[in-house]
């Protein structure tokens, strides 16, 4: 104890706390000011309420971060994948971006304010208020604490409401993005871009092969059987009529130089 020299005999000035609350005594100030008991209870209740509000706020912050990264993951990967999906519907509205940055400021402000008010919260400091010898002094302290705690709680609650609002907006954007994907026939999954890349590459390869088959005069029905495209799909890819499919123009359009050479060789 040697390092707390300054503390000295300070404790002797305190009013000894040896009587329980349930038995009013002439030695206790509570006997003369029963409102103090109520006030202390109110402070304790509010502290718990603030803690609950604070935890909700933190929880919501995590939820918002999750919603945000989900949206970003969903949109960003499609926007950069060079696919045939229309990504214009994935852009976030400027108002939402504004709301997001405002919510970030709110989080910062609340954290700042929270640090300055935690001195009235249950952090091992609760006894502090009981050492007021003076009834009037304690009454004022309690009043002040109640005011601060109420203010803190409502700040947390308002902050939480704001975060929820922003999260709901982001989630709505996410739903819109997912619907845009669905409209394009894409399932919303972590591997959606990979699946789509694979599918588009396969279709392109099949189109290439179909074009080659068309180019060498293969019957449409044989191509649809082999490639698996329907006749309409085939016509949509390469609107070539059977009678012109072996025309020099068609061959020129559809085949590579190497293939043309092979064809020429095959035709003698």
């Amino acid at each position: 104890m040697s390092f707390f020299k300054d503390v000295g005999n300070f404790f002797s000035k305190e009013i000894p706390k040896f009587v329980t609350e349930t038995v009013p005594s002439v030695f206790e100030k509570e006997t003369y000011a029963p409102d103090l008991v109520e006030g202390r209870k109110e402070v304790e209740r509010l502290k718990k309420a603030v803690e609950a509000s604070r935890d909700r706020f933190f929880e919501e912050q995590a939820q918002l971060a999750k919603a945000q990264s989900r949206f970003e993951n969903l949109t960003e990967q499609f926007a950069n994948a060079g696919l045939s999906v229309d990504t214009s519907r994935f852009t976030v509205s400027p108002s939402l971006i504004k709301e997001l940055s405002e919510s970030q400021r709110t989080v910062r402000d609340i954290m700042q304010a929270y640090r300055t008010v935690t001195n009235v919260m249950s952090l091992g400091l609760t006894e502090l208020i009981y050492i007021h010898a003076d009834i009037k002094e304690e009454r004022e302290t309690l009043k002040r604490q109640i005011k601060i705690l109420k203010g803190t709680r409502s700040r947390f609650d308002q902050g939480t409401d704001q975060l929820i609002r922003v999260r709901k907006a982001i989630e709505a954007e996410t739903v819109r993005a997912v619907e845009a994907l669905k409209a394009a026939g894409i399932e919303d999954s972590v591997s959606a871009v990979s699946e789509l890349t694979a599918a588009e590459a396969q279709v392109a390869a099949r189109q290439q092969m179909a074009a080659r088959l068309l180019g060498i005069g293969t019957e449409i029905s044989a191509i649809t059987d082999l490639i698996g495209f329907s006749e309409t799909e085939l016509a949509a890819i390469h609107p070539i009529l059977p009678e012109e499919e072996t025309s020099p123009e068609a061959i020129d359009r559809l085949m590579t130089e190497e293939e043309k050479a092979i064809l020429q060789e095959a035709n003698g």
Binding site: S2, F3, F4, K5, D6, V7, G8, F10, F58, E59, A62, A65, S69, N73, Q77, N80, A81, G82, M111, Y114, R115, T116, T118, N119, M121, L123, G124, L125, E127, L128, V190, S191, V193, S194, E195, T197, A198, A199, E200, A201, Q202, A204, A205, R206, Q208, M209, R212, L213, I216, L226, I227, G228, E259, I262
Partner: protein, 447 residues
């Protein structure tokens, strides 16, 4: 690390306040670094998840292409057994050697192949990222709260008038302060360990991909683009080699024609032809030894082909992919793709299969065993009986299935009927057989 209170002993008020101010700065600094660390961890975990998804997808493509061509040949007894042991278990081997046997198929760059080798490492990372400890740390940011509380205590003391008061307050809160800092330090330690681990893994992966010199964001973008390109290239190859297989099975075209139409090397066509011949022998009931004798391949290669043939048979017969994969020691992705790719092949024969007609002839044509087709036939007949209103218990007994299993079919039938009704309403039901095959239902339901 607790707070050293000895420094406060005997200090004058102003000195004490200065000390406390330093302590406050220290705590706040820790809080900030904690928040930054959290952000970095989240980013790293997100990156790892992205990387793992891409790489796993590439490996899936590789596995699916591998089963279309002939497995690597023997070049020494030990080597061959080693090679085939690694056929599915070692993706790098698959990419560099397994497919290398058929020139022109592999289109992967060296960095990509290197990255494929990271799959087990990535899997471990994802597991780590999803562990409850990580999620807890990342969710609540407990360390921030602990430090916030410690800072509040210090601030309270700073605001006091005399050194006497400050010391008294700190003495009261000493234990609490020490507990808070200790716990926060522990949290920070865990977090920082996790972050270092995750970030290190991301960095080493990017370095392996040859992207180590780029800024992180750019490197990640390049990584994803590189993998997307690999996925695209492999998928195109898969489509081509599948077409080669179709044409080879059809049997009316020369290898040169097939190669020129599909745009692959003739060696690929030869490799596929060799495999198709072996599959034909196996499906017709020949043993591995017999098939090996008739082909130029060794037993180990035939066994590897046999695995896929069996996987295909089981998939078509309706067995769950996971258990088939485990039983035959082939990747689930292979069982799934074999089922998905080969069911549509049965479209022209669906009515016959349901009636169990000409199963041997169909088997020869589609390279699926007659037994598997018979099991599919039984399933279709059971479903038809159920749909016609037969007692589930009786249907189950007739075909050796539990009532529960039959109950699942009943649900599928109801679902299939709804889908068909929707198709009919929208005038989209064009080819009865196609819909029936897609739904795995007897023709009577689709009608």
């Amino acid at each position: 690390m607790g707070i050293d209170f000895d420094v406060f002993a005997g200090l004058k008020t102003d000195d004490l306040k200065a000390e406390l101010a330093v302590m406050r700065e220290d705590l706040m600094g820790r809080q900030t670094s904690y928040a930054e660390e959290m952000f970095e961890l989240e980013t790293a975990v997100n990156d790892l998840k992205k990387m793992e998804e891409k790489t796993t997808f590439v490996v899936t493509q590789l596995e699916q292409i591998a089963v279309l061509t002939t497995p690597p040949p023997k070049s020494g007894a030990e080597e061959a057994s080693d090679a085939l042991d690694r056929y599915f278990t070692d993706p790098v081997f698959l990419a560099s050697t397994g497919l290398g046997a058929v020139g022109g198929v592999v289109v992967l760059s060296k960095p990509v192949i290197k990255l494929i080798g990271m799959v087990p490492k990535l899997g471990k990372a994802t597991k780590l990222a999803n562990s409850s400890k990580f999620l807890k740390v990342m969710k609540l940011g407990k360390g921030t709260l602990l430090l916030g509380a410690a800072i509040a205590i210090v601030e309270l003391a700073v605001g006091m008038i005399s050194s006497q008061e400050i010391n008294k307050q700190l003495r009261k809160d000493k234990a609490e302060l020490n507990r808070l800092t200790r716990e926060a330090d522990k949290e920070i330690g865990e977090l920082s360990k996790a972050t270092t681990q995750a970030k290190g893994l991301v960095t080493s992966l990017l370095k392996d991909a040859g992207l180590g010199d780029l800024a992180h964001g750019q490197a990640m973008e390049s990584y994803v683009r590189m993998m997307n390109e690999a996925i695209g290239a492999l998928s195109a190859q898969k489509a081509k080699v599948r077409m080669v297989r179709k044409m080879v099975m059809h049997g009316a075209m020369t290898a040169a024609d097939i190669a020129s139409i599909t745009g692959v090397d003739e060696t690929v066509v030869e490799s596929v032809s060799q495999r198709v011949a072996v599959e034909r022998a196996l499906v017709s009931g020949k043993t591995v030894v017999e098939a090996a004798r008739d082909s130029l391949l060794d037993d180990a290669q035939i066994i590897e082909i046999d695995k896929t043939v069996r996987a295909r048979n089981e998939a078509i017969a309706g067995e769950p992919a996971e258990s088939v994969a485990m039983l035959l020691d082939v990747p689930v992705s292979v069982v799934l793709s074999e089922g998905e790719e080969n069911l549509p092949v049965l479209e022209p024969f669906w009515g016959h299969i349901e009636k169990a007609e000409n199963l041997d002839a169909i088997s020869e044509k589609v390279l699926i065993s007659a037994d598997a087709l018979a099991r599919l036939s039984a399933e279709l007949q059971s479903k038809a009986a159920l749909a016609a209103g037969d007692d589930p218990a009786a249907v189950g007994q007739a075909h050796g299935h539990s009532i529960e299993h039959v109950g699942e079919w009943a649900v599928e039938i109801a679902d299939a009927r709804t889908r068909i009704a929707i198709l009919k309403r929208d005038a989209k039901l064009r080819k009865l057989e196609k819909t029936a095959v897609q739904l795995r239902m007897p023709l009577s339901i689709a009608a």
